[in-house]
Subunit: 353 residues, 2 copies
DNA sequence: TGCATGTTTGCATAGGCATTCATTATTTTT
DNA sequence: AAAAATAATGAATGCCTATGCAAACATGCA
């Protein structure tokens, strides 16, 4: 084991500056009671010695690590999540928090991960596309570490949750398809243990029912390839669908490719396709995907604010928030009369549940 | 500011178990000198109190944080980097290291970021798609914090670097295009301050020169849209190219889309397109991109091993390693006779420079 | 039984910073 | 100019764990 070189300490800076160690500490603490002149002396000495305050020692002393634990899944399979990670990282950075990251698979159990966060005394935990066991939720609550879920509904009153209004999203997709006169519709699900997929399906179903229709369902495993295969199965059905709604964009793209390249179907003339998320790729000319946009920035803002608020004031109760998505009309689904591609039907609003 | 609830400490566990605090510490330290019977007593008491060792205090005491700082850029614009992040995160996790993450933009200056890592006394730093000022490299060397660059060549003897052999990759692309009889070739660059783009261009140029050709160059800014626009400009040239090599896959895909959807060109019949990276999308039926594969897993393995080795033994000198890529032949580029789609020309090997 | 090894154990301290408390310097008030 | 209030300072202590050291204990062997 190599010896780590010794870093300059506040005491050494103090000696050089001719002040006490306390003064050095105060010089680096915004709002501390210290004369401007001594602060300058301290900074001067600090610079000379290449002093970096030791955040580890500070954390031990203040009992705040200024670290947020983030768990993220699907980062390689769904371009939506890199967007989320990017936005999260920036927000926390802006707010003076560091990020400790775990990349997991969708089905990975977090009960081994979260304790590692707890060992490092993270100030809060944000879970993306990952679910929380209620035992862990309790444990974190007991230790006073707030948890916020992003894009998963909450299993427990101990955590906050920020989601897109998936049910309404499903309804919007169904409405569009009904208005443009489809008769045989399908839903490509992600997986049956994921609230996003289940809720989108539910809203979709509900709305179709009003028109006396029932979707046929296939499973796309939240992946391009899974959806590609699902589309091929769907087209082999006796009554093959004239519209497919997918639980997310990456699957919608898989379906589109399957329809065009493996099934020789014209989209949207023969089959309409709708996705969910509005990832950047959805706007690419090859796809031009009609989809439900999740307002990432707004959702992230809310989630980050909530988590930081609860860190700073532990009396704040966790909350569940639903954010409405927007229907982004492009050209992968037949247009109802009166609607043109490029139109965004914005119903964005936020509501508490 | 909310009071953080007090966690159980080793002293409390000690009291309950009827041993000293040292014993508790030893019980949680693999390889420490402690009787199995007392270890059991300790674990029992620890479990009863819900004790989590405090990694912050441990870090302060051992002067090792077990944290690796990772900086990653392009995470939303290039699917290659989510793959890299995923692989990195898993590797470090396996090796018992946590990851502190910063997501940055390509041009963001790291001189504000790295000091934050240093404050937290990270054990090592890994930079992906980001460049390092030589001042910072020195600072880290002074403090004994090893740095490893991934996919950027090293500006300084103080850091290690792990790259794909970009020059050879460029040559491979050129060779393929020459063998299949192209006469007017173009290169879509990423940016002129990035070693990857410059080196790929250089190898491409070198090999073309042997055939008396010179590529015309345009700039795609490492993005889908940038490359889309570049392709349109290229096709407007008096001598429009019959082959385009792109500095990465996401740009190749942008070029493909531009050619097919905006320029009505057949690919590969009228124009061949070659990318670099072999991101998952490259294999999608819509694109079927011929490309140079970067062997991510192998590169990451080497990079992680190197960094951890240098952390554990600070006498090890930083090294620069080049890993050969493989030419993955699909159908976005005309095939030379004797070669069929699906073929992978593997020249993979690693060499030190 | 007695001595030499080897193993366990606890005490005491270090690690770097923040913070309380008591003290001193400075400013404001009258 | 004195009194009162405020600001700035340093000494001492706490945060929690790891570890060097010496003492206590256990084991093997003669």
């Amino acid at each position: 084991m190599a010896e780590r070189k010794v870093n300059t300490t506040s005491t050494q800076v103090a000696k050089l500056a001719g002040v006490s160690q306390s003064a050095v500490s105060r010089a680096f603490t915004p709002g501390a009671s210290i004369a401007e002149s001594t602060r300058r002396k301290v900074f001067h000495a600090a610079r000379k010695l290449g002093y970096q305050p030791n955040a580890i020692a500070r954390s031990l002393s203040t009992k705040r690590s200024k670290i947020i634990g983030i768990v993220i899944a699907n980062v390689t399979t769904n371009p939506f999540y890199p967007e989320v990670l990017d936005a999260l990282s920036r927000r926390f950075q802006q707010r003076g928090q560091r990020v400790m990251l775990f990349v997991v698979t969708r089905d990975q159990n977090l009960d081994d991960i979260l304790p590692q966060f707890l060992e490092y005394r993270v100030d809060g935990i944000l879970l993306t596309a990952a679910t929380l066991s209620s035992a862990m939720a309790h444990e974190c609550a007991r230790l006073g570490v707030p948890i916020t879920l992003f894009n998963r509904s909450v299993p427990d009153a101990h955590a906050s949750s920020f989601c897109c209004d998936n049910i309404e999203g499903g309804r919007m997709a169904a409405r569009l398809l009904m208005e443009s006169g489809h008769h045989q519709v399908a839903f490509v699900a992600g997986s049956n243990d994921t609230s996003t997929s289940l809720e989108r399906e539910r809203g979709f179903r509900e709305e179709l029912k009003k028109h006396g229709l029932e979707p046929c369902i296939d499973m796309g495993e939240f992946s391009y390839q899974g959806a590609f295969d699902a589309a091929r199965r769907l087209m082999k059905l006796p009554k093959s669908p004239d519209a497919v709604f997918c639980a997310n964009d990456i699957m919608a793209i898989g379906v589109l490719d399957a329809l065009r390249h493996a099934e020789q179907k014209k989209v949207p003339e023969e089959v309409s396709v709708i996705g969910f998320d509005d990832i950047p790729m959805a706007a690419w000319p090859s796809y031009n995907l009609t989809t439900i946009r999740q307002p990432i920035e707004r959702m992230i803002d809310s989630a980050v604010n909530d988590l930081l608020d609860r860190i700073n004031q532990n009396t704040i109760a966790p909350k569940q928030e639903l954010v409405r998505g927007d229907l982004v009309v492009r050209s992968s689904a037949k247009l109802p009369s009166g609607l043109s591609s490029g139109y965004v039907i914005s119903t964005s609003e936020t509501r508490n549940v």
